[in-house]
């Protein structure tokens, strides 16, 4: 399941929606990314997250396909927000559903790596009255 949205999400609800389809799932590993109050030693107020929607969808599908080739997953979920996000807001949720722990852990980490490298999102960080475009270090 892939969602690219402005709105916040409830990770319990989103994970349950998928989990209840799979009684053979014993392991859900997930990652939530948040807007931090500080970056590169500057106090962050908020970010504006721009997205190239059609491409983000395509890239997420590709990432999930790759993960499914590498691990035996029962299901997976990516929710990525865009737009104006205040400090402490959730940015992203990745959750991987598998029978056993190893698969869900490794695939969740893999999806996050890939997402940071290839997903077409751009963060514009606001500090006081200044702002700056970021790029991921890896």
């Amino acid at each position: 399941m892939i969602k690219i949205q402005k709105e916040d999400f409830n990770s319990e609800v989103e994970i349950n929606k998928i989990k209840k389809l799979h009684s053979n799932v014993g392991a859900v590993s997930s990652f939530i990314g948040y807007v931090r109050d500080e970056n590169n030693n500057k106090a962050v107020r908020s970010i504006n997250l721009e997205v190239y929607q059609e491409m983000a969808h395509k890239q997420f599908e590709k990432i999930i396909n790759e993960a499914n080739l590498k691990w035996k997953l029962e299901d997976s979920l990516i929710i990525h927000r865009y737009g104006k996000l205040e400090v402490n807001s959730k940015i992203v949720l990745v959750a991987c559903f598998s029978k056993h722990r190893k698969e869900s852990f490794e695939s969740c980490n893999f999806i996050m790596d890939y997402l940071k490298k290839d997903a077409p999102f751009w963060k514009n960080e606001f500090y006081g009255d200044k702002n700056e475009w970021l790029s991921n270090s890896n």
Binding site: G33, Y52, E54, M55, A56, F121, K123, N136
Partner: protein, 81 residues
């Protein structure tokens, strides 16, 4: 073909997207030359290889022929997640 710009590239082009006539631009290398002539401020980023290109939502590195229905995107390194 349609060209889309993202993040701070838009501050240089002053627009989010535009139509470019295929007569002027046959392939990706031609497009690079065309836009650096049109937007000289892009030149230094082109040289530093900071710009990313996608054709129809797929990353493109090598030179590729372009057709009239293609959607091209030009953007800086990503920072999602």
């Amino acid at each position: 073909m349609k060209i889309k710009y993202f993040a701070w590239i838009k501050d240089i082009t002053n627009l989010e997207e535009e139509e470019i006539n295929l007569d002027k631009v046959k392939n990706l290398e031609g497009l690079k030359i065309y836009i650096t002539e049109k937007y000289p401020d892009l030149k230094k980023y082109m040289k530093k290889k900071v710009l990313r290109f996608a054709i129809n939502q797929e990353y493109i590195v090598k030179n590729t022929n372009l057709s009239d229905e293609d959607e091209i995107a030009i953007f800086p390194p990503v920072s999602g997640g």
